[in-house]
Point group: C2
Chain length 423, copies 2
Amino acid sequence: MTATKTPDIAAEIRVTAIAAKQAGKVLAQATSETKAAALRHGAAFLRARADALLDANAKDLAYAQTKGLSAAFTDRLTLNAARIEAMASGLEDVAELPEPVGRILDERTRPNGLRITRISVPLGVIGIIYESRPNVTADAGGLCVKSGNAAILRGGSDSLHSSAAIGQCLRDGLAQAGLSADCVQLVQTRDRAAVGAMLRQHGLIDVIVPRGGHSLTERVMAESKIPVLAHLDGVCHVYIDAAAQPAMARDIVLNAKMRRTGICGAAETLLIDRTVSALLPGVVDGLVAAGCTVRGDAAAQAADPRIQPASADDWTTEYLDAIISVKVVDGVGAAIDHVNRFGSSHTDTIVTEDATAAEAFLNGVESAIVMHNASTQFADGGEFGMGAEIGISTGKLHARGPVGAEQLTSYKYIVRGNGQVRP
Amino acid sequence: MTATKTPDIAAEIRVTAIAAKQAGKVLAQATSETKAAALRHGAAFLRARADALLDANAKDLAYAQTKGLSAAFTDRLTLNAARIEAMASGLEDVAELPEPVGRILDERTRPNGLRITRISVPLGVIGIIYESRPNVTADAGGLCVKSGNAAILRGGSDSLHSSAAIGQCLRDGLAQAGLSADCVQLVQTRDRAAVGAMLRQHGLIDVIVPRGGHSLTERVMAESKIPVLAHLDGVCHVYIDAAAQPAMARDIVLNAKMRRTGICGAAETLLIDRTVSALLPGVVDGLVAAGCTVRGDAAAQAADPRIQPASADDWTTEYLDAIISVKVVDGVGAAIDHVNRFGSSHTDTIVTEDATAAEAFLNGVESAIVMHNASTQFADGGEFGMGAEIGISTGKLHARGPVGAEQLTSYKYIVRGNGQVRP
């Protein structure tokens, strides 16, 4: 009956979003037990279909090879028995998290007898746009189900078969628990127009979560007419204050930079108070021994000849690599100014034994996460005790920092009366 | 020195926004006492300068007369002694509200000893775009100061002189309390390009709050690259359930529709269960006596000949006038479906003595505010005990329902350690 054979991606995405919205209405009302059952069934399907998942993944890997993709890319794309088990147990962990929906956030009775309750409700439909990391399909989809939200998952085109197979486990888990499989929707096309079409589903998709590199997030933020929860960069700072314990400063810098260089909570810039710049050689020892390149301003280079010159760009660069920039500053005030000017509002830490300097930093730095005597690599929903996260937000509206199940809810007011009219 | 005489609105707005951002950084750290002092000084200036305010208002009224603006418009624009006193005492009331900044929202100690505190922080800079209602300058500006946010106020061009004079009172109050006057910025131009320029100050203005009619809000939502807190429409419903007390139903419908027809919480559509459609003549009696036009579907017309035919458009129309549409539905499920389909997610109420029906409605209706046996006209920050509101939001992200001082904050995580590094 149809007059055209050209696939209309925009129309397909619209149909997907409408189905998600409908399914989400029922999911929003589902009990904690039903949602947990769906997640546990999903985990069981992942385990039972491990061979089929590996077959699907082999197809993706073969396709990736024809494109000559990097070793790091291929590693992220690869599934194996341990990674499948990690996804399955991850879903079971999410099932056990405290119920995020229906929490009473506030309750008050007014003088006229009206009882006003503010309770948490799901956001509705969440669109997740990510790169070719198949595990995100399970992790993000599971967190959406837990929080009562329908999910529209658009993984990187190179993980098409893997993501589809994983997503089907979630969908079958939902159906087995008596919920609509359409609570988890997969966008199964390599056509990049699908992303643009998702970003235009205002009124059907309530929030967009991009998970991936700078260019993906930048595109989503620029194009989306739907609110976005995300961070564009993670230019995180360690500031060594005049009153820092030298050994602690060395340990925190080394861990913050080198534990894992590719995560958004990795430190990219070291600030150090001028009065203790003599600590730099000790700090650089550890970094260099771990294979880190160190760049710095003139004062930093004067303190340690191994430090190479930094350019203006270094202060705003998220290396995601074994490189760190070092700047000598005059006190905690200058450190705060540098972080607020050049940072990305993600995570920044001060190392000091001076409580006054610590409080100044914690209050003055405007980032989503500010730390005292701790490594920036703790910027993670799991480390925060949130169980799981769908990402980290540096925006100011709605959620900041790790975005977990609780942050994927909104609220509504319920007002109970006995016939009150307003005078 | 300047080579051009053409005013560059975009550049002016940018300078304004930069100044607001700078001033806001200090305001964000101000104590509750300092902010309260600024508001009280502002109130004192309003009272002391009442004559000057009336002179400024006279200029605006004279200008409005040359344009032949409506009586309702002129009424909203007009200042008098009572309205000046209301603004002043409003600022004093806001000064007394609980401190919204620095609230501990969550606190936990992790097994590794990290102490994680989530505390409320100001949003930063709030842009408020409103119509020619001079009192909004004081109300919105005051709420921003209380919540530690810098405000950029752009009132309707017909209230230029009045808003400037009121805004100057706030600015002088800030200065007298030792804060920067630039915490409250006024956009003093009749050029409508100023609004567009404000909506493009991404990175300087953190949130936009439009206060005004449908067309203003629609323009702001469509053009803004900055998050918007607002409601586009208030198509509010009263549903008379099968188990409603007839007298209560009559009182609530009459109050919800007619107490004030021009506010966003006024009811626009009455839904009534088919089994009690015989209650309609009693309900219509009260409405007609109060001067209300009643339109309805065929079943409603059959129940009461005074009901005129409704068209499809009626179900989505916010009359803001003495008009109501009536639809006969089959039970609470159909009522919920109608509200979610045709409503605007603002405020909806059920009248019933049946607790099961009430819970179904309260859970199933997706609006920001859902009520049981109460008039929709209670949808107001003051009535909710929030002291004051800058508006009502029907979006799902960040704030829903009345937006008061607490809703004008974000949060940050403060992590305190003693040298922890991540394994």
